[in-house]
């Protein structure tokens, strides 16, 4: 069952991404991450290699605490890596001489619990990036923010503070805030986890609509298999800690997708296939947890 250590799971050729030359290809090469907080070395990521094509929606699934977020943090530049390297469009983000990538607007994270600044209105939040970078003047940034809000159906909430709107609106505002920077990669860490199932399904369609308009690479961590298959070009299942790709499942349901996909036989097949692999890892993680607890 174990994947060979150096095996790289490659972006399959038959993958039909709408624009072949899309930017935002991520290459993760034999990345290791060891946490050493109190002398007890914990291997969070072990010899992990993964190629994500530009404009691909890559869904990362794995047991809780397996190190998926560590990987995301390494790409974003919040954490260093112990060894290995990560490239974005062939350029080194972090590697042997530079353990930590510089965070930047080409790779924007949408956080698990949301990170809209509560002291700024939705509009100010969205315009934040370009203003900070000095890329746009305040007026220009607000104008662009309003345009994007219009396409995402967020008009009417510009002057509200994030605390005043529903959680679904907050998530959309945060995604639009990320897209304001024309990023190459969107890094989403279980962004819809806290939403109820109804809002979640709306968010999935909203995210796909946004994706069809701006073909960015999406690195999406989730626990929800249905979400993974519904959204992704590919679902990568990670092993339990240390984290490494175990299996990559190609979702051959053509985009654009809508909710009818959920009831299609192919979707069910893929669900079963994914479920089996995930379950196996979950059992391992559970047993490992019991050992640690003992």
């Amino acid at each position: 069952m174990s994947t060979a250590n150096s095996a790289t799971i490659r972006q399959p050729d038959e993958q039909s991404l709408s624009s072949a030359a899309a930017k935002g290809a991520i290459r993760i090469e034999r990345v290791n991450k060891v946490y050493d907080p109190q002398g007890a070395a914990i291997q969070a990521v072990d010899d992990c290699s993964l190629d994500i094509g530009g404009g691909e929606i890559c869904m990362i699934v794995g047991p809780s605490g397996c190190g998926k977020t560590t990987l995301l943090n390494a790409i974003a530049g919040f954490h260093s890596i112990t060894n290995g390297s990560i490239f974005l469009d062939g350029e080194l983000l972090c590697g042997p001489d530079r353990p930590r990538a510089e965070p930047g607007p080409d790779r924007v994270v949408v956080f698990q619990n949301g990170a809209l600044f509560p002291w700024q209105t939705n509009l100010e939040n969205i315009a934040f990036g370009p203003i900070m970078q000095g890329a746009l003047s305040k007026a220009e940034a607000f104008e662009k923010a309003r345009d994007l809000m219009a396409t995402a159906g967020l008009l009417g909430t510009e002057d509200s503070y994030p605390g005043e709107v529903s959680s679904g609106v907050r998530r959309r505002v945060e995604i639009v805030r990320a897209l304001m920077n024309d990023p190459k990669v969107l890094l989403l860490d279980e962004p819809f986890r806290a939403l109820d199932s109804l809002t979640k399904s709306v968010m999935h369609e909203a995210l796909l609509n946004i994706y069809y308009q701006n073909k960015v690479t999406i690195f999406f961590i989730t626990h929800d298999l249905e979400e993974a298959i519904f959204l992704g070009h590919r679902v990568v299942i990670m092993t339990t800690r240390p984290c490494r790709p175990k299996k990559s499942i190609l979702v051959d349901i053509p985009h654009p997708r809508d909710y009818s996909v959920l009831t299609s036989p192919r979707f069910r097949e893929l669900m079963d296939e994914t479920m089996e692999v995930v379950h196996e890892e979950a059992v391992k993680a559970f047993q490992a947890g019991e050992k640690e607890g003992a």
């Binding site: 700024q120 900070m132 399904s201 909710y259």
Partner: protein, 442 residues
């Protein structure tokens, strides 16, 4: 019956259901009529039934929290509303529906519909997935939304958005007077002053004998010719207040100007913190009164030692709370800002400072209270004016009512300064005021 069955067959969700099951559904359904303006259901009500529109038009307005931008649509014959009744767990109305003109509706109980369908699981799944598709249509965001979004938003969110600043204060005080709170408060005061009055002036309770009673104090306070020399009518009274107030303002300003940046640095820079925090924590527990001799040695004159002691106490409260404020900021905020291209300085300016504001203002409220506390202590020791001085000299010269006048005045002036700090804080943190107002209204 036949007609209704045909109608059910035309609905979005029941298309694939065979006739005999539809008949069963109809058996348990009831036909109801509504007239213009009748509300069929409201947001948040429990959802047990769904409705098929038989005749007329219904206005369907999704609530502001439904996850869609607020969207009003008109529902016509053959449409299904109230599908929330089919959901597990979320059986609450998400929209408000109002009859437009004469309307007749077929009311179908959600549970009994599911029960009928449960005879055929495959069919049930079909109905539910059709329902899901219909729901998604309701919630997806067509491009024409940009044109209809002029529809005035209803609900608390929009309401509070308009309520800011002064109008919010007015609104709150109006609500306050309608509640039992102010009257309970009066009862509390009455009990306190009543017992004081009876114990000191009526019953002459043991040890309360020498205490000035409230009536005696009031008489002195409002007397044009006060026995002990201090009342509303004597200019000295205001001079004492002014001297104390000026000292508070100067000391509070010094403490804030030094304490806020110091606290921000403590919270933000690990290095600065390693230098300063242990020192800070060693000095902080030293009571302000213990500083009095050194203050008098260090500073010349009467004014500066008082200011030093007052500012020192305030400084600790402000710096500590500001530091805690920086620590309270969710780690994701600076990370998100870095992701969006903010430099380290910009993170400090746009994330750390506003993020620490709530704690900072809690600190400033404590700080102004502590300032009064140490001011009075300092004025008792040195100084020749001020409310602390009044209290102390009145004691040594046996002018007991004047002591109480000084005390009550301190209470009132102290409350006002504290309220001013809160007002400034609310002005700077509109986002928080609006959030809290929203929470309070629901």
């Amino acid at each position: 019956m036949m007609q209704l069955r045909e109608l059910l067959k035309q609905t979005a969700i029941l298309q694939a259901v065979p006739d005999e099951l539809l008949d069963k559904v109809l058996e348990r359904a009831s036909l109801e009529s509504f007239s213009s303006g009748d509300v069929i259901y409201r947001v948040g009500e429990p959802a047990r039934d769904l409705f098929v529109l038989v005749e007329g038009e219904v206005e369907h307005a999704l609530g502001p929290d439904a996850g869609a931008a607020v969207l009003v649509k008109i529902v016509k014959r053959g449409d299904v509303i109230g599908w929330a009744a089919l959901l597990k767990g979320q059986q609450q109305r998400l929209a408000k529906t109002t009859a437009r003109g004469q309307v007749s509706l077929l009311r179908i109980n959600g549970e009994s519909l599911l029960e009928i369908l449960s005879a055929d699981p495959e069919l049930a799944e079909d109905v539910l997935s059709r329902c899901a598709n219909m729901v998604v249509e309701d919630f997806s965001l067509p491009s024409w939304l940009a044109q209809v979004q002029e529809i005035p938003r209803s609900g608390d969110a929009a309401e509070t958005a308009r309520l800011t600043g002064l109008s919010l204060t007015m609104y709150r005080s109006a609500r306050w007077f309608q509640s039992p709170k102010p009257y309970l408060m009066l009862v509390g005061f009455a009990i306190f002053f009543g017992s004081w009055f009876f114990m000191s002036e009526v019953w002459h309770f043991w040890r309360f004998d020498n205490l000035p009673g409230p009536w005696e104090v009031l008489q002195e306070w409002f007397s044009e010719d006060p026995i002990y020399g201090l009342s509303f009518y004597t200019p000295e009274y205001y001079q004492h207040i002014w001297v104390s107030l000026r000292r508070i303002m100067i000391a509070f300003a010094i403490a804030t100007i030094l304490g806020v940046p110091f606290g921000l640095l403590l919270g933000w820079s690990a290095q600065f913190r390693s230098y300063m925090f242990p020192l800070f924590e060693t000095l902080r527990p030293i009571p302000i009164l213990a500083w009095v001799p050194l203050a008098i040695i260090m500073f010349t004159g009467l004014e500066s030692p008082v200011l030093f002691l007052t500012a020192l106490a305030s400084f600790y409260a402000t710096a500590l709370n500001t530091m805690l404020g920086v620590e309270s900021i969710d780690e994701s905020y600076p990370r998100a800002a870095a992701c969006l291209g903010a430099s380290r300085w910009q993170v400090f300016r746009y994330i750390i400072i506003p993020g620490a504001l709530p704690y900072m203002f809690t600190g400033l409220q404590i700080s102004i209270g502590v300032a009064w506390f140490s001011l009075v202590a300092a004025e008792m020791v040195s100084g020749e004016f001020g409310l602390g001085y009044v209290i102390n000299t009145s004691y040594t010269t046996v002018r007991y009512p004047t002591i109480v006048i000084g005390m009550v005045t301190l209470g009132i002036v102290g409350y006002i300064t504290s309220a001013l700090v809160r007002l400034v804080g609310d002005q700077l943190m509109q986002w928080r005021v609006r959030e809290l107002a929203l929470g309070g209204q629901q």
